[in-house]
């Protein structure tokens, strides 16, 4: 890869440089010649992964039906490097910092720490200072100091306002639980956690974005299929599926037959809530005239699943999508679990696997690092909630997030399930497990952006494209990431 271009976000092999240059010229010429060429490329064409300039240009050239160039490119005697080799001879006059800056893409190091500061008031700093000092004391097992600091946090938090106060309160509570050994109940009653999730769903766009972008990828993967089957690892209230079903109903040529397998943990009161959700969706399916089949599947952990349990049908007759929203990271609490699940997914032979996860590393080995990372992450999250209108929803959303904070900070071992990892880390896992990326494109990006515009107090939400994945963040800090995958043995999907 050309290093200088890599640093500014583009992936071009040095050996391909001349060819890319030629494509640029070719496309420029074609755009000039084609009637409405520009407007076509701008409005109709779906763009993918602009970091890969060569393929991006190729897509557009194909879209414009450009004839191949008359002569092959001039043999390039010198690559980009040769030109500045001469300049390098005069490099003594260059200051050291102007030599190449090492690229630091998110995937290469887990030490990348994005940081958005919204509150730089005096009190806020003292509060954060005390929180960090307390975490450090806990880390060093100095529990008497930690106890003293936790009490101090309580006083300081009271004088704070806004997001910082709430975040500090949750972190302080989590620290206190860790200090006193009062671990939170596990599992919590499902109807309570479901309710919290519903409020979270209404208050801020994270879940909606997750569902929307995953559905977009599933819809595209199901194009042309007459019988489709979605296996949802994150069934909960089934809030993702009405929108997909409606989109399928409106498909030109009519909807496919839609089968849904919803997987979830057992309910504490032994109620069959998964079936209830299924019933509601069946009623919806009837009103929109979509042939619908449902199965609810209870499992303590996704790792308990085997492909044989899922009643899969031959892939010629039924196309499968596997969907997981904020579930996979929980598997990291047990060694081997995520690998088992991914191998089961492989056996399912899905058309597409859609994954949404928190964009953070809350699974590092050291407690202090985890504490710091999550403090930054949830500060940004809470700040994004500040603008929301409905205070009841807001409080519930904060409780919902507060439970995650508690788990990250107070729990350990198999109880610590909120083991978030970054997109870069998930990419590595999926790659090793035999999957290749399916890129999300500019159409999904645009629609997601329009979705965000609907949120009041939501000026700060931003969608970002990252090597074929989409991320949603608050200001410049990405908070969740949607990626899509297919089996590596499949032929390359032509866009």
């Amino acid at each position: 890869m050309d290093e200088l271009l890599a640093v500014v976000g583009y992936k071009v092999r040095s050996s391909d440089m001349a060819e890319v240059a030629q494509k640029l010229e070719q496309l420029e010429e074609a755009m000039g010649n084609a009637r409405d060429g520009i407007s076509q490329l701008s409005n109709d064409t779906v763009h993918f992964n602009p970091a890969d300039i060569s393929n991006w240009l190729e897509t557009m050239i194909n879209n414009l039906d450009v004839p191949p160039p008359p002569h092959p490119p001039l043999p390039q005697q010198h690559s980009g490097k040769a030109i500045y080799t001469t300049a390098a001879a005069t490099a003594d006059s260059l200051s050291p910092s102007s030599k190449r800056v090492k690229p630091s893409p998110a995937e290469s190091s887990s030490s990348t720490r994005p940081l958005v500061l919204v509150d730089s008031q005096e009190n806020g700093i003292r509060l954060v200072h005390t929180l960090m000092a307390c975490a450090e004391a806990v880390h060093q097992n100095n529990l008497s100091l930690a106890e003293a600091l936790v009490k101090q946090i309580g006083f300081l938090a009271v004088s704070q306002v806004g997001a910082m106060r709430k975040v500090a309160t949750y972190f302080a509570e989590a620290l206190a639980r860790r200090i006193y050994g009062l671990y939170p109940e596990n599992p919590i009653h499902h109807s309570f956690s479901d309710m919290l999730q519903i409020h979270f769903y209404e208050t801020c766009p994270y879940l909606k974005f997750a569902h929307f972008t995953a559905n977009q990828a599933i819809l595209e993967a199901f194009q042309g299929k007459n019988r489709v089957h979605v296996i949802d690892f994150s069934m909960n209230q089934g809030m993702q599926w009405p929108a997909l079903m409606q989109a399928l109903a409106l498909r030109p040529g009519g909807p496919p037959a839609f089968r849904l397998t919803g997987i979830g943990p057992p309910a504490a009161d032994n109620s069959d809530h998964l079936q209830e959700v299924g019933w509601k969706l069946a009623q919806l399916a009837e009103t929109i005239h979509v042939e619908f089949e449902y199965r609810g599947f209870v499992a303590n952990s996704l790792a308990d699943l085997d492909a044989s349990m899922l009643e899969l049908r031959p892939s010629e007759t039924e196309a499968v999508a596997v969907n997981s929203v904020f579930e996979l990271h929980k598997l990291l609490a047990r060694p081997g679990a995520v690998e088992k699940v991914l191998s089961v997914v492989r056996q399912i032979r899905p058309e597409i696997v859609t994954v949404v996860e928190q964009e953070a590393n809350h699974n590092g080995p050291g407690f202090l690092d985890r504490f710091t990372e999550s403090l930054h992450y949830y500060s940004t999250m809470f700040d994004s909630l500040e603008g929301s209108v409905n205070s009841q929803d807001k409080v519930m959303s904060e409780v919902y997030l507060g439970k995650q904070i508690c788990n990250v900070v107070a729990c350990e071992g198999v109880d610590r399930v909120e083991r978030h990892e970054t997109l870069g880390q998930w990419r590595t896992r999926f790659g090793s497990a035999g999957f290749t990326p399916v890129h999300l494109g500019s159409n999904a990006f645009k629609q997601a952006s329009m979705l965000l515009a609907l949120f009041a107090g939501g000026d700060g939400y931003r969608v970002e494209e990252n090597n074929g994945c989409l991320m949603l963040g608050w200001h410049t800090r990405p908070l969740i990431a949607t990626s899509a995958w297919q089996l590596a043995t499949k032929s390359v999907v032509a866009h």
Partner: protein, 463 residues
């Protein structure tokens, strides 16, 4: 001022010599071609020959049938004036005739001489022309931007913002130091969601910063704080665009400064004066941060810097600062965006030649200026008919970098002249063979020249 004399002399020659465009292209090619094995020898011979007998040297070099005097007259004149000027150092001359432009393909040279070059109207020639003056990867980078930007501007004056944000390569801030620099984003003004990205030198601590120590006071006796306005013709890019994040990081390392990159609101959604207002808000914010004060005098040593539209913003924010009594120690304008209703010679001569067309420039001004206003608006043309005088005003000293292949250079030179006439302190750096965006990658001599200049510009008050 010597360099402006050079360019007007060149202008004069072009008019007098009435040299056709094709001759001009040929001229440029001859100046830079030699055989691969003898490259260094030829280079020296070339430079020596130039110094000794410019006109006869060229005569011996070309078998072309066109009258050599007509062909070489403007170039010779240009060179002679350059050589006769005492102010220009060898470095600047080297910037004009850099060895980087020597191609190792002799067949290209011969081909260019044997076959008549068509009139320079065709796109093909234009594309090849720009390829001769920049390294290939830079050509790819800038051309890629050009192509993307063409997709985003709509004829009706609207902008495809969603596609723009999709295509723009962004990087998050990073509180872990990389190459001695760490960064973080700050919400400067909540109501307008005005963010700025702050870059700080690591000072050897080598650990990731947290909310606690991110705003720790600077330790230096004197440290420049450079408020940076990214370019993009008022419509493109952001503070977290990868090209600008990289540039700002380099500035920190080279100048040992703090850099504050302002994420100002963009056109056409936000017209004049939004960008200036945001710049002024950021300036006030920076000047009130106690942790940015230099120890020596407990003041924030502020410099304003920007490229393209950012350079334009620098001027207007500086003006506002001076009128409000906030001290700015210096302005740095890299290829700043200025214009006017008149069509200047450089705009006509360079239209479409080096990545930029006049019609594109016009689109951006229409998108930024208030509806119904033309390019003689003060924002675009501060020394034009609607401009306000800067005479007697304690305007900051200015460093103005002009790329010789930028079609708006006449406006930039006029800006420098305007400052000079108003009695202001101006330093002009004219880089004859530089195109727009040369500072985005470090693999060219213009980059190092400019960085050195910026470094000394912001370090003048250091002990």
């Amino acid at each position: 001022m010597v360099i402006s004399e050079v360019s007007s002399a060149a202008k004069q020659c072009y008019e007098e010599g009435k040299v056709q465009n094709c001759g001009g292209e040929l001229l440029k090619k001859i100046g830079r071609v030699s055989c691969p094995n003898k490259r260094e020898e030829n280079k020296m011979e070339f430079e020596e020959g130039l110094l000794a007998h410019p006109s006869t040297f060229f005569l011996s070099f070309t078998p072309h049938t066109l009258s050599p005097l007509l062909l070489f007259f403007p170039f010779f004149f240009l060179v002679a004036v350059i050589l006769n000027s005492p102010h220009l150092s060898c470095e600047v001359v080297r910037a004009c005739f850099s060895s980087q432009f020597l191609t190792s393909d002799p067949s290209l040279y011969l081909r260019s001489l044997s076959f008549p070059i068509p009139m320079a109207e065709s796109n093909q020639l234009n594309l090849n022309e720009s390829k001769m003056v920049v390294p290939l990867n830079m050509w790819v980078l800038i051309s890629n931007f050009k192509l993307a930007y063409n997709l985003l501007r709509r004829p009706d004056g609207t902008f495809n913002r969603d596609l723009a944000e999709f295509l723009d390569r962004k990087v998050p801030a990073n509180a872990s130091p990389v190459d001695g620099v760490f960064s973080f984003d700050v919400v400067v003004e909540r109501e307008t969601s005005l963010l700025s990205r702050i870059y700080r030198p690591d000072e050897g601590e080598n650990h990731a910063r947290t909310l606690v120590d991110i705003e720790k006071p600077v330790t230096s006796e004197v440290i420049p704080v450079i408020i940076f306005f990214h370019g993009g013709s008022f419509a493109h890019s952001s503070a977290d665009s990868a090209i600008y994040d990289t540039l700002c990081r380099r500035l920190v390392g080279i100048c040992n400064a703090v850099v504050v990159s302002v994420n100002y609101r963009r056109a056409p959604e936000n017209r004049y004066p939004c960008a200036y207002d945001d710049g002024w808000t950021a300036l006030q914010w920076v000047s009130s941060r106690s942790w940015l004060q230099s120890r020596k005098d407990k003041k924030v040593h502020i410099y304003l810097a920007g490229d393209s539209s950012g350079g334009n913003i620098v001027h207007h924010v500086a003006r506002k600062a001076v009128e409000s009594g906030v001290e700015v120690m210096g302005n740095i304008l890299l290829n700043p965006l200025f214009g006017g209703e008149e069509r200047t010679e450089s705009e006509k001569r360079l239209d479409g030649k080096y990545f930029v067309r006049i019609q594109d420039r016009d689109w951006y001004w229409r998108a930024f200026l208030p509806e119904g206003e033309n390019k003689d608006h003060e924002a675009c043309n501060p020394f034009g008919p609607k401009g306000r005088s800067l005479e007697g005003i304690p305007f900051p000293k200015s460093l103005i970098v002009v790329a010789g292949l930028d079609l708006v250079q006449d406006w930039q030179l006029a800006y420098a002249k305007g400052l000079e006439k108003a009695g202001q302190n101006v330093k002009l750096l004219y880089l004859e063979q530089a195109t727009i965006g040369f500072y985005l990658l470090p693999n060219n001599e213009h980059f190092s020249t400019v960085m050195d200049e910026i470094k000394s510009f912001v370090s003048s008050d250091r002990s």
